[in-house]
């Protein structure tokens, strides 16, 4: 038990149990649906997960600092539409430049959120509820009810979603999913090993203490919102690539799925704990439900009810079970320490 406890932390148990739940879900669907274990199923789930995952990584950073970004759905729609229009008018635009423009546009919208939260000291829920309406409203007004259509886009963009970057046997890892994986890996390593990124955890778990030791609170919160905006911008580009036809409604309601993925993935809504990989697992869980339920024959209308239940269970298990586990862990560590303290005075 002691050995086990030193190897695994409570947070990891949470992720492992989510992984187990995903396996159970896949086995369940596999036993109910003929031909479920196919590469088509994998491709379908992985493409739908990719976009949510990228936005969820940014959301994770914001939630870690004890804030929330509800405007991401509008940012995704905003960038998807405007970058789509830009590419449709300038077909020769360099693909990398297009991606860079998407990220920059998203980041700029994130700066507005971050400045209002950090310097305006307006609660993040209020700011991002407001910008959720404002960004979408500006998009609808500026677009003049036009849409971006697939046939106005250059061929490289239309082919991007089916581009296979890493064939493992007959299994495709497609470009969008590969991009999401790279982002998850980069950010997971970043928040684990960069001392700078540990500050997200520091100000989320104890803002007063973080202030007292002199962390630049405002800058860190601004950075979290800018990264969230930038990744939402990238997701906007991915949405454009995946669907081709973009109306002003693109990305509406995405924020709910993203927040759900983050919460199911074990990121604490009060900040200070949670991992980027957890958010990805949350997104995979949601994507698996979304893409599998309608093939079961029972109606797809069950998805939302199940998702609501899943969020509730995730938060409840976090609060009730994980608290107990953490106490247990802390107690055994105490036992481990006691003999040293009781012995000879330390030199």
């Amino acid at each position: 038990m002691n050995w086990l406890q030193r190897q695994i932390r409570p947070e990891q148990i949470r992720e492992l149990s989510l992984l187990a739940l995903i396996v159970v879900a896949v086995v369940f669907f596999g036993s109910m649906i003929d031909g479920y274990y196919s590469f088509r199923t994998f491709n379908r789930i992985s493409s739908s997960v990719a976009i949510i995952t990228v936005v969820a990584v940014g959301q994770t950073l914001v939630v870690l600092t004890r804030n929330i970004d509800l405007s991401v759905g509008s940012i995704v729609g905003f960038t998807a539409y405007f970058v789509g229009t830009l590419i449709a008018h300038h077909k020769g635009l360099n693909p990398f430049l297009a991606v860079a423009i998407s990220i920059a546009l998203g980041a700029a919208l994130g700066v507005v959120n971050g400045l209002l939260v950090a310097w305006g000291r307006v609660p993040a829920v209020v700011v991002t509820l407001g910008t959720l309406a404002i960004y979408r409203g500006v998009l609808v007004d500026l677009s003049g009810a036009k849409t971006v259509t697939t046939d106005s886009l250059p061929q490289w963009l239309v082919n991007l979603p089916t581009l296979n970057v890493l064939p493992i046997g007959a299994l495709d890892v497609r470009a969008l999913f590969a991009a999401a994986l790279v982002i998850v890996i980069i950010f997971q390593f970043g928040v684990t090993y960069l001392s700078f990124a540990r500050r997200f955890y520091a100000i989320g778990s104890n803002p007063e203490a973080a202030q007292l030791i002199g962390l630049p609170m405002k800058g860190i919160i601004l950075l979290a919102f800018v990264i969230s905006g930038a990744l939402a911008g990238l997701a906007g580009f991915m949405t454009l690539a995946r669907y081709g036809n973009i109306t002003v409604e693109a990305g509406r309601g995405l924020e709910l799925n993203v927040v759900a993925a983050v919460v199911v993935g074990g990121v604490n809504v009060f900040g200070g704990s949670g991992r980027v990989t957890g958010a990805m697992l949350g997104a995979i869980m949601i994507g698996t439900l979304e893409q599998s339920l309608f093939r079961l024959g029972i109606s797809e209308f069950w998805r939302d009810a199940l998702l609501g239940l899943l969020i509730l269970l995730a938060v409840a298990s976090d609060s009730v079970i994980l608290q107990r586990l953490r106490l247990l862990w802390a107690r055994t560590e105490l036992k481990f320490v006691q003999p040293v303290e009781a012995g000879a005075p330390r030199s």
Partner: protein
């Protein structure tokens, strides 16, 4: 209270804004100042206004209820589904209200007794209750209700006032008495401003929170049925996204998102500001979309301006000493 303090109050600012909006509307449109327009102005979002009253109490108590719009949809769908299955409509309405209360009890159980954050629980409710509503109605639109239901809430009851407006006024008076004139109301403020202190003083936090969430869901269910009656048909996405407008109204009314601060006079004024602003913009041919983001901007400014003015005042004081 001395005049200087009265000037600094949030409600005074709202009143000034309201007067300015009304003045502009009167000058801009000759259709504005008519009884018909005013009844219409209230009637068009009476359901949201009703829920905003209950939401104000929840937020003052330091929590938030994101699930209200889904509870509105759930109640409407439960009623329509039962009616379609052959249940008499009055019974269907009663059971739909019961479904709303159940949803509220479910929220309250996890928040008040398990101790989970209300943001997460009611987010799950927002998605989950909507899901149940969709399971019941799927992608159909259920209509064909009897005539008395289709005019429910819209017939003139007292003078030109419709029944829905009378119901709203009744709830406004009830909530003012509960929040500002009863011991329960004081407990809501105590819990919202300092939950630790409330716990150590022996306040039964669980009971108060249960009452707040059941009340909010119950009022939302009633509003959902009134909304269904006004539209004459029910779909799975009935009242989808209403929580945004409702929370905006409450926060614009000077209720602090952190709890413990705010009152129903402010919320009432904020309702009038938003309704008159939307109505005026509508009469001036400004689209609903533009109206939405003007109100989004108003929401941010309503917190930003007091913060900034406080900061500037503090800087001035610092310079003097």
């Amino acid at each position: 209270m001395n005049p200087a303090a009265l000037l600094k109050r949030w409600e005074t600012l709202l009143l000034a804004v309201l007067i300015a909006i009304v003045a502009i509307n009167v000058l801009e449109s000759r259709y504005y100042l008519s009884v018909g327009n005013f009844i219409n102005l209230f009637q068009l979002s009476i359901e949201k206004s009703l829920v905003a009253l209950a939401m104000a109490l929840v937020i003052i108590g330091g929590d938030i209820d994101l699930s209200v719009a889904s509870v509105m949809g759930l109640a409407a769908c439960v009623m329509a589904w039962l009616f379609q299955q052959g249940a008499p409509l009055p019974l269907a309405i009663l059971l739909a209200l019961g479904a709303g209360v159940l949803a509220g009890l479910n929220n309250a159980f996890w928040i008040a007794y398990v101790g989970l954050p209300s943001l997460a629980v009611t987010l799950a409710g927002l998605i989950g209750y909507r899901g149940v509503a969709r399971i019941l109605v799927e992608d159909r639109a259920i209509g064909g209700f009897p005539l008395w239901f289709n005019t429910l809430g819209q017939q003139a009851l007292v003078g030109p006032l419709t029944a829905a407006i009378v119901i709203f006024l009744f709830f406004f008076v009830v909530f003012v008495i509960v929040l500002h004139g009863s011991a329960f109301g004081r407990l809501v403020y105590v819990i919202g401003s300092n939950i630790q202190a409330a716990r150590y003083s022996g306040v039964r936090i669980g009971l108060v929170k249960t009452a707040l969430f059941v009340g909010s869901a119950g009022v939302a269910a009633l509003a959902g049925i009134l909304y269904a009656a006004r539209l004459g048909s029910v779909r799975g996405d009935t009242a989808d996204g209403f929580e945004l407008d409702i929370i905006t109204t409450v926060l614009l009314g000077g209720v602090s998102i952190f709890g413990g601060k705010g009152n129903l006079v402010g919320v009432g004024l904020s309702l009038l500001v938003i309704l008159n602003l939307r109505n005026g913009m509508g009469l001036a041919d400004i689209t609903g979309n533009t109206q939405n983001y003007v109100i989004g901007g108003l929401l941010i400014l309503s917190v930003l301006i007091p913060n900034m003015s406080l900061e500037i005042r503090n800087k001035w004081r610092g310079r003097e000493t």
